[in-house]
Amino acid sequence: MKTVIQGGRIIDPANGVDGVYDLLIEDGKITGMEQSLPVIDDARVIDAQGKLLTPGLVDMHVHLREPGREDKETIETGCAAAAAGGVTSLACMPNTVPVNDNKSVTEFILHRAREINLVNVYPIGAISKGLKGEELSEMAELCEAGVCAYSDDGRPVMNSLLMRRALEYVRLFGLPLISHCEDLNLCADGVVNEGYVSMVTGLRGIPCAAEEVMVSRDILLARMTRSPVHIAHVSTAGSVALIRQAKREGIPVTAEATPHHFSLTEELVLSFNTNTKVNPPLRSQSDKEALIEGLSDGTIDVIASDHAPHTLAEKEQEYDLAPFGMVGLETLLSVSLTNLYHSKKLNLPTLVAKMTSHPARILKIPGGTLSLGCPADICIIDLEKNFTVDASRFYSKGRNTSFHGQELTGAPIMTLRAGKIVFPQEPHKGPQGETFATTTSEHGQL
């Protein structure tokens, strides 16, 4: 089975590629990239003229909710949402029920993901047993079972000694530690950013310092242990400055930001709409600008969604009671293109790297590149497509997004994983049951 994707602008940051090429896919792998490939008789042809081709996106921060909270999301709906968002590899956080702090849960997730066979799923194991922050999970067993990293995401590792030991211990496996930076004492049951909006609404505030003291701590521990630490969902200007300085000093720290943190501000909370409730909270305009600055100067390596689906009933509660989180897989690319590329803050290769090669490098997973011989995980993008976000049409079970109703520009229009089209999901199947689109079929014209 051969496929040729013709005439698209290919950006492959890992190989420094940015130009118009034909791409040849054989047996699910990339086998050729030429300015003009000769006609191959039995090949399926996808016309991508005027479109952008990138490696399939890698979203290193996703909550799939299964096992345990299948009412919020399942591995199947989460994977479908990923594919629709141009994501071909995702890393899923361990705060499931039960927690992914043991081999059985890791194996279950991998098994389900293989059955569903839409995108690559990389489970993240818990740092501490039960995410309790008290003792280390059995990290070696988790590693063997196939986790790609460790994190207690959703909760901080408040005990600094435990964090130190975790950083030291993971050197056994060479897997990264992902830190959710939040000092729970300073946070003091806060639900929104501490600032003008918390003052006016009377909602309890989470000060920027609640994040920054933990970012500082983790940087110091990374310096001491020489083990890399990845800071999840950076939300404040202060954190950006700390990470920038740490990188200058050569401390092994990497960081990610979410589209909602670099696109939205706390002002939205004035409506008391619980879809604005996320952790860390939406911050101020100046924090948002600092995140964009950090993305642009390389301080922030990765854009990740922190896709956190919840049910409507959970979100239709008092602000204090509603759970934290926003879905993001299906808006990850569009929000980033709109607010970073179209607004001229980031060039395309830089932006694409933050959603492909950088997260793949941090997690040490395959993918995130279009190198010859690699699996043909590809995202085809219409940079100029204008559309209005309609959460009711998400593949995800979660509808909780503050981007609902927003006009965005730029969207994934086709996603291939190992050479197979996983989005759009085919309205009719080919003779072998595979999905296909050719220049002659109605779906061939992208």
């Binding site: 609404t201 009377g202 239709e316 509660q317």
Partner: protein
């Protein structure tokens, strides 16, 4: 003029609307002096008091206000409501809506709860206090009380003393006072002053004497006794020493000669207010309660579209 379906907060009101409510309330005060304190204005209307948090004065005030206007008032309290059975506020709203009430008055411990209740609701919603957010009827009765005694609110120096951080009364009072042109100072320990509050256009003072010097109005806030375990201040004793208002401190601070003292109640005698201050002739604590009734009658009347007659 007042044409709103709901009263969720003072922040959203225009100055003219506030004045109109106060004028209406003033005219209702006359009813309170009649031998038979009942007018048929809201006959056939239903007012539900949904109090999801303990309250005496506000709930009773709304209940009496409704009854004086001949509305049917029903009280729902946390211990007797289905909210204790795990029913969500949204579902409760739908249930109540099916019974066609005209107004739901809600008190809730969480900011924004009245807004949630009002979403897509057919009935009107009056916020009777939502967490640390707003308590608009308290602010209106405070404004009415000040206006009665001072004639004009514009230009007055008003000090609000105490736990501003957790106070819905403070927020609503600040919004209302500023809209009507008063100058507002907040007085309290730094731990109980919300960060960024200066952005509203108030000044902050941590020393009580400095804070009330030259003031026309001193509004004291109830100090919630459970706060002392949450690291906001070392002890009630120390708080009282620093911020408890006594005749002594009042004399030293030299506020305006005809200063008035207000407190939303319930008061902690000897904590934030000395008994001698609470019972002094320039203390208007009980006037506030009476005016609360008038303000709530006015609001029920205005929101239920009372005709201009």
């Amino acid at each position: 003029m007042f044409k709103r379906k709901n009263l969720l907060g003072i922040q959203e009101l225009q100055k003219e609307e506030i004045c109109f409510i106060l004028d209406t309330a003033e005219s209702f005060k006359e009813v309170l002096t009649r031998p038979i304190k009942k007018v048929p204005t809201l006959r056939g209307k239903t007012v539900i008091n949904l109090f999801h948090e303990p309250s005496t004065r506000t709930r009773i005030s709304f209940e009496i206000a409704g009854k004086m206007l001949s509305a049917d008032t029903i009280n729902i309290s946390p211990s007797t409501s289905s909210l204790t059975k795990g029913e969500s506020l949204k579902d409760m709203a739908k249930t109540l809506e099916a019974m066609n009430p005209d107004i739901i008055v809600i008190r809730h411990s969480m900011p924004g709860a009245p807004h949630l209740l009002a979403q897509e609701a057919k009935f009107s919603v009056i916020n009777a206090g939502d967490g640390a957010h707003e308590h608009p009827t308290q602010a209106l009765l405070d404004l009415l009380t000040i206006r009665e005694h001072k004639g004009e609110i514009e230009g007055l120096q008003v000090a609000i003393v105490g736990d501003i951080l957790h106070s819905r009364v403070a927020r609503s009072d600040i919004f209302g006072l500023l809209k009507l042109g008063a100058k507002v100072r907040l007085v309290g320990p730094p731990t109980l002053i919300p960060p960024f509050v200066e952005r509203l256009g108030v000044t902050v003072e941590h020393n009580l004497e400095q804070g009330i010097k030259g003031c026309d109005v001193i509004m004291l806030l109830r100090i919630q006794l459970e706060r002392q375990n949450k690291l906001f201040f070392p002890s009630i004793r120390e708080y009282s020493k620093l911020y408890g208002l006594t005749l002594d401190k009042l004399a030293k601070a030299r506020p305006s000669q005809d200063v008035i003292i207000m407190h939303p109640g319930p008061i902690n005698r000897g904590v934030e207010i000395d008994p001698q201050v609470a019972d002094a002739p320039f203390s208007l604590i009980l006037d506030q309660v009476t005016n609360g009734l008038a303000v709530r009658m006015a609001l029920l009347y205005l929101i239920l579209g009372g005709d201009e007659s």
